[in-house]
Amino acid sequence: MKTGRNVTGPDEKDRDLDAMVQAYAGVIVRAVRRVAGPRAAAIQDDVHQAVVVGLWRQLERGQTIERPASYIFRAAIRETIRLLKSSSGSPAVVETDPDAISAGRAGNPHARLEGKEREAAILEALATLEPKRQQAVRAHLSGFDVREIMTMFEWPYQTARHLIARGMADLRQALRERGIDE
């Protein structure tokens, strides 16, 4: 693969780095596809190659690479953010964009009012939760899985599971009290 780096012919170090970049590109694409939801369809198969090129560009911006492995990881972070931003601007977003949903409601005052009331009830119900349970529930509803929640809050596994389970039960109860059965 031409990367722009192997101008004088690939030596062993370059080959290792190239293999690492290829592996990282796969990891980045999978991570972005996982969180992309409906947008994932817009992330084309050829994105892997684009990410490889993007990673090399990130790497070539560095003046020195004292710790190559961690330097690649930092480049991968920047490339992941770039790919997420570019994928969120894809046409596939339009159908699930909340603005589009709101626009759809604009012609139906009843649906719009119902939607607003539901949104307000969810926020109110969340606010009634005990702080740690509220954090766990917000994270769970935002799509983080248990292991990610453990990492974010530095909670042991059982604590994270317990806070999510109890918090979701509390949330449902608070929603029922507000006339919403989810």
């Binding site: 293999a19 190559p68 972070i77 949104e119 969810i122 974010m152 530095e154």
Partner: protein, 281 residues
């Protein structure tokens, strides 16, 4: 957790319909957080922002995923500070209670074992003493990809990508804590690719978390035959737990001795479990 999906959708919609988020973390901030270089205050600020901003929640999730998978292929990736095996007072009390219970009950267990048919009595009497002990609590193993899989030679890149796609599909319910579905998908994938460690390992853990210990042993033994050094400690630990839950204390003890004598992340729990096992036998 699938029944939470409507609430998740409603929550994201609620956030998106509210005031637009401001003060999104910039690239340098994300880099510090994911590289474990941010201060506690900065980490908290980013975390709280992400819980109220769907776009940044996606970024955070993707970067956590990136770090987890990258750790399997790159030794330069910073270790996470997740307290997977943090000792808490409750854990200490539970462990102490377990040891005390085992110590008190051992003579009675021994009498019962001698009285009855050896095989059947061992199964019926030791099970509540050992597998219910907190020392043998089963926990979800973090998802890692072996370097050999991620760095397959160029010629095999297509096969590798196809396999990774299949693995991604099979591991998804595991990530979402739907272990029954994960077990179903991962056992199928492992049977189709018996030479690859990842499906066998996570099939075994999923089966174990679904209380199907005997089947878990089969897949974890398959994983052990293929385990590379980065997986060995995890496989030995999970297989030891599977043997305990399948009432095979002898095999469990042999593996726990290896885990306890090693320097892997399960060493402390392995030593504690070995002690409980010795007291309970």
């Amino acid at each position: 957790m699938n029944s939470d999906e409507p609430l998740k959708a409603a929550y994201r919609q609620t956030l998106a319909a509210g005031k637009p988020s401001v003060d999104h973390p910039d690239g340098a901030t994300w880099e510090r957080v994911i590289c474990e270089e941010a201060s506690a205050e900065e980490r908290e600020r980013v975390r709280e922002h992400a819980l109220r901003c769907p776009e940044c929640a996606d970024t955070y999730r993707a970067l956590l995923e990136l770090r987890t998978e990258a750790a399997a292929i790159d030794p330069g990736v910073p270790a996470t500070s997740t307290p997977v095996a943090r000792t808490s007072p409750r854990w200490v009390y539970a462990l102490a209670a377990g040891i005390l219970l085992a110590a008190v009950a051992t003579p009675f267990v021994w009498e019962a074992w001698q009285r009855d048919n050896a095989e059947s009595s061992t199964a019926s009497v030791t099970r509540p003493l050992l597998s219910a002990n907190p020392a043998f609590r089963v926990e979800k193993a973090p998802v890692l990809l072996s370097a050999s899989l991620a760095l397959t030679p160029r010629g095999a890149a297509d096969d590798r990508q196809r396999f990774l796609d299949e693995f991604g599909h099979a591991i998804a319910p595991y990530r979402a804590d739907d272990f029954a579905e994960a077990a179903s998908r991962l056992t199928r994938l492992s049977d189709a690719h018996p030479d690859v460690i990842e499906p066998a390992l996570y099939a075994g853990v999923s089966l174990l978390l679904s209380q199907r210990s005997a089947e878990a042993v089969r897949y974890l033994e398959r994983a052990k035959t293929r385990a590379t050094p980065e997986f060995l400690n995890e496989v030995d630990w999970q297989l030891a737990l599977a043997h305990v839950h399948a009432n095979d204390a002898n095999r469990a003890a042999a593996l726990l001795r290896i885990v306890c004598d090693g320097s892997g992340p399960h060493r402390d729990r392995g030593c504690a479990a070995l002690k409980v096992l010795a007291e309970g036998r």
